[in-house]
């Protein structure tokens, strides 16, 4: 695919973000059935069908350049969105290597990586970057290794150090988050940063997930979905900027909800890193407008049922309880009550 594949669009001000019909078709719809509750939903992060968001380790889609521009603006206004405690530099190099090798292998037309010993040259054609540097030598890059590569990679990233039978969120690049703050969470352990989540602790979800992650193996990454709701296509819904995006929830109407309300899906994966023994946690956010989503009849029926029936504590935590009735009213127009097939893939009719 040529470089004209990448769209120019905004996630702020005039909100020109849209999904092409192809992007809608490949959207990672997160519901495999008509209801939703938390669970230890992890599966091997193996290559999926061609064209799907699982085809490659790190999906690069039509929004790439626009998302990277938005990230640069967030960082300009608030540099604390990217932090790395001193002992995490090696994990940053591990992450840089993982991303560069994956992208150069999976998208050879767009990315190249050439190595002569520790002398590496990285070419990122879409972003017009060519950089020669010495692997594991911080002074040869314009930023630290994690910041350098995540300024060129869609999705948020956190790096967890593993010690004392726990994971510690000790580094991250977080500019497209669903209302949580790296600056607040940095240095916390697994249960501590998950403290605000309702029900899941009592269900044992976090105990089991942590136990599994502590044994996560090299070369055997896993993935899971998370989802929430966002009014207007805003990537940066952070606690720090709440005044900019929170009040818009009060301005939804039946007329504008199809265009302004977005389902926000996070494709999260977990990778053991080789040199640091840390765990990388990419959190890739995908946005889809309700009016785009309802073009897939199965998804429309299912989302209606999930939103209608989801536990109010979850709707409150995810921040859409006040608009739930409106969402249900809008989505019910697309639900004729017919049964839906298991699995999340679309069935255009």
């Amino acid at each position: 695919m040529g470089l004209d594949f990448f769209k120019q669009e905004t996630f702020r001000d005039d909100y020109t973000f849209r999904n092409s019909p192809e992007a809608i078709r490949r959207f990672p719809f997160p519901f495999a059935e008509d209801s939703y509750m938390y669970s230890v939903n992890m599966e091997p992060h193996v290559a999926g069908p061609k064209g799907s968001v699982f085809e490659h380790m790190f999906d690069v889609d039509e929004h790439y350049l626009s998302e990277m521009r938005d990230r640069a603006m967030v960082l300009r206004d608030d540099p604390l969105r990217c932090q790395s405690l001193p002992h995490m530099t090696l994990a940053g190099w591990d992450l840089l290597e993982l991303i560069m090798e994956s992208k150069a292998r999976d998208y050879p037309d767009w990315f190249e990586l050439h190595k002569t010993g520790n002398r590496w040259t990285w070419i990122n054609r879409p972003m017009e970057i060519e950089q020669t540097f010495t692997f594991l030598n911080e002074s040869t890059l314009p930023h630290g290794p994690m910041e350098y590569i995540t300024r060129q990679t869609q999705g948020d990233f956190t790096l967890q150090d593993q010690r004392d039978n726990n994971l510690w969120i000790d580094a991250g690049m977080v500019t497209t988050q669903a209302d949580w703050s790296l600056d607040f969470d940095i240095g916390m352990g697994f249960h501590e940063w998950h403290a605000p989540v309702p029900h899941a602790h009592q269900m044992g979800v976090f105990d089991r997930a942590l136990k599994f992650l502590l044994k996560l193996q090299l070369g055997a990454p896993v993935r899971r979905f998370n989802w929430t709701m966002t009014v207007d296509p805003i990537l940066d819904t952070s606690p720090e900027t709440y005044p900019k995006w929170g009040p818009s929830k009060a301005t939804l109407t039946l007329d504008n909800i199809g265009h302004r309300q977005h389902l926000r899906v996070e494709l999260q994966s977990l990778h053991r890193l080789p040199r640091s023994n840390a765990i990388a946690f990419p959190i890739r956010a995908y946005l889809i407008k309700f009016e785009e989503l309802v073009t897939m009849p199965k998804w429309a029926r299912r989302l209606h049922r999930v939103v209608r029936d989801v536990h109010p504590d979850l709707a409150t935590y995810k921040g859409f309880l006040r608009n739930r009735d409106l969402m249900v009213q809008y989505l019910s127009q697309f639900d004729d009550g017919k049964p839906t097939s298991p699995g999340w893939w679309p069935e255009p009719e």
């Binding site: 091997p44 405690l85 001193p86 002992h87 290597e97 044994k215 070369g219 896993v222 040199r275 023994n277």
Partner: protein, 321 residues
């Protein structure tokens, strides 16, 4: 999901007799190419076909993590053991094709450490070979104290001394040299992390001294791989698989389960990682718990067994596999 079933085909590139007890093996990827990058302290499980008995033994990677063109391990011959080390010593020759698992690290460096103080006894030196190479390359501060019975058995003493100079301190038991542990621990700067790997008495001595001197648990790291002990033959019923199997004296319960064609999870095969924990559904007899994983209460309750190292003696044992 991660029950250690991934395998890397390797070829034995070199076998070296280091001394009368220790042999060193170098593996390259069969068909060429690099092996996975690893961190100092990692081990791999080496798969052996010992006259029809499948053995999977863990060995620390001792090569420089920066060089993934090959992996090296050292194996100490254990004449009383179940046979894994004897197989490595007697049967494994250059050119042989083998399988290993991907590297797993249960003894990682704490990268927050401002200084890394390492204490090794005997063959316990192997993880530190990789760790010191990694720390040295990053310009980190470390100090290694390495004790062996005799100079001849002190594999790698010369190598380490040449390479790291006064960052290495050697002690030869035969020559009456011993680590002044209390003195050493009292001299360490704030932010030092302590690592110890070696025979059990040494491990206990270092850990208890550190605790008595007020070292926080989080700054003290140890690794002890238990070889699965030999014992008497016993029978086990596998409830889920609906099979009754016999565990031979020189076989572990885990090996017997695998030999019966039943999939069972594991990582370390040395009683340390917890992965092979299995529910005991019925126990009429005595479980010989040989692991570091279960708590004393769990062991006493007789409701769990670690299949990689623990054994059974008695009338009837039923496990959930």
């Amino acid at each position: 999901m991660s029950n250690g079933t991934a395998r890397i085909p390797v070829t034995v590139a070199e076998v070296l007799e280091v001394n009368e007890l220790i042999k060193r093996f170098r593996f390259v990827r069969t068909g060429g190419g690099h092996l996975p990058t690893f961190s100092g302290g990692s081990h791999v499980v080496v798969e052996m076909n010992d006259q029809g008995t499948r053995r999977l033994n863990p060995y620390s990677l001792m090569s420089d993590p920066a060089d993934t063109s090959s992996y090296t391990i050292s194996v100490r011959r254990d004449d009383m053991g179940r046979g894994g080390s004897l197989f490595m010593h007697r049967q494994v020759t250059p050119g042989m094709q083998m399988q290993i698992g991907p590297p797993v690290n249960l003894f990682p460096l704490d990268l927050r450490g401002r200084k890394h103080l390492m204490i090794a006894g005997g063959i316990g030196i192997t993880p530190f070979m990789a760790m010191t190479a990694q720390l040295d390359a990053r310009g980190e501060r470390f100090e290694l104290h390495y004790a062996a019975r005799s100079r001849a058995l002190g594999a790698y003493m010369d190598f380490l001394e040449t390479r790291y100079g006064d960052r290495v301190h050697l002690y030869v038991d035969e020559e009456g040299q011993a680590i002044d542990l209390a003195g050493l621990l009292s001299r360490q700067p704030i932010g030092t992390h302590l690592y110890v790997c070696g025979p059990k008495p040494m491990l206990n001595w270092v850990l208890s001294t550190a605790r008595k001197m007020g070292w926080p648990d989080g700054a003290v790291h140890s690794e002890e791989f238990l070889g699965a002990p030999v014992g008497k033959r016993f029978q086990v019923e596998l409830a889920a698989a609906k099979k009754t199997i016999t565990v031979e004296g020189n076989q572990s319960l885990l090996e017997a389960i695998e030999a019966a064609g039943v999939e069972a999870p594991y990582l370390c095969r040395g009683g340390a990682c917890g992965q092979c924990e299995t529910d005991v559904l019925h126990c009429d007899g005595h479980i010989e718990h040989n692991d570091h994983w279960l708590t004393a209460e769990q062991k006493a309750s007789g409701t769990k067994i670690m299949t990689c190292v623990s054994r059974f003696e008695g009338k009837r044992l039923v496990v959930d596999r």
